[in-house]
Amino acid sequence: MTEQFSYSADREPASAAQVRALEALLIEKGVITDTTVDKVLGYFESEMTPLNGQKIVARAWVDPEFAQLLAKDTPAAIAQLDLPEGMAGAEGEHIAAVLNEPGVHNVVICTLCSCFPWPVLGLPPYWYKDPVFRSRAAREPRVVLSELGVPLADDTEIRVWDSSGHSRWFVVPERPAGTEGWTEEQLAGLVTTESMIGVALANQPSAA
């Protein structure tokens, strides 16, 4: 017991030291430079954010043809927009959109390892990686969604999409009523990360 306890108390600094040592060793061996990790992080934190997903959703709301292409060939549709250059291997090539429609609500989970469509949604909220969230959302999505306050009619079909290395799903929520004539920029402001995971609806105009 005591042993276990001291082990847990040491875990945080031990992990930190392990990562530091690994990075230092990789730099020393010339595998990476001392700026590599900062550059990668900087790119992720400034370019790969939910702003990309918001723009994609807003375009889909105003342009039915784009929405159709988005559902059929997501990377091709995304390539039409003026978004930051995708990093090959940053999980962008496997992104696939699923579109909510009347009577159908999509929700995205990853039951294995928290795969996430980084380029359009940024890094995942940390609860997305919680094993309880993942397993419950897979098993009883209707209950989970109601606990999260997503108002769904009883006859709405819920489709649960399990992300994997080869399909990283994101949800195009339904366009809220009362937004006729809005610009794409205004519409994008209604799109939250949660709504693109499917654990919320897009914001209503009044909430924006």
Binding site: Y7, S8, R11, E12, S15, A16, Q18, V19, R20, L22, E23, L25, L26, K29, G30, V31, I32, T36, V37, D38, K39, V40, L41, F44, M87, A88, G89, A90, E91, T111, L112, C113, S114, C115, G122, L123, P124, P125, Y126, W127, K129, D130, P131, V132, F133, R134, S135, R136, A138, R139, E140, V143, V144, E147, L148, G149, G165, T193, E194
Partner: protein
């Protein structure tokens, strides 16, 4: 890998306990500590620069999380996603020999065929 629902926890009323953070705090910073952030950057960066395929890292991550999930609740350590991330990173670096003598960076290999 099947999801083991017997590992969920229940409250007094028999209702499944939902991790409170799932419903109360969706805007918390994505990394709890700098080492998690750097571990993330390392894993992605090494893959970006061709040292291994992202799938290879992913496989190690799945394996690490899988073995944690197989341990009974009362015997396993507290859930910490990034510990699995670091374990996977270590494994993939080792398997691809990145730290071995004579390792050649992808861009310096004769057989590389990009561009």
């Amino acid at each position: 890998m099947a999801i083991d629902v017997s590992k969920l926890s229940y409250d007094d009323e028999g209702k499944v306990v939902f991790h409170s953070s799932c419903v109360t705090d969706t805007n918390q910073p994505k990394f709890d500590a700098e080492w998690q952030r750097r571990a993330f950057g390392l894993a992605v960066g090494l893959s970006e620069f061709g040292h291994y395929a992202w799938d290879d890292f992913q496989r190690e991550l799945i394996a690490s999380i899988g073995s944690w999930q197989e341990v009974p609740d009362d015997e396993r350590s507290r859930w910490e996603y990034y510990e699995h991330w670091v374990a996977a990173l270590d494994k993939v670096v080792e398997r691809h020999g990145l730290l071995e003598e004579g390792y050649v960076n992808p861009e310096d290999r004769d057989d590389h065929d990009d561009h």
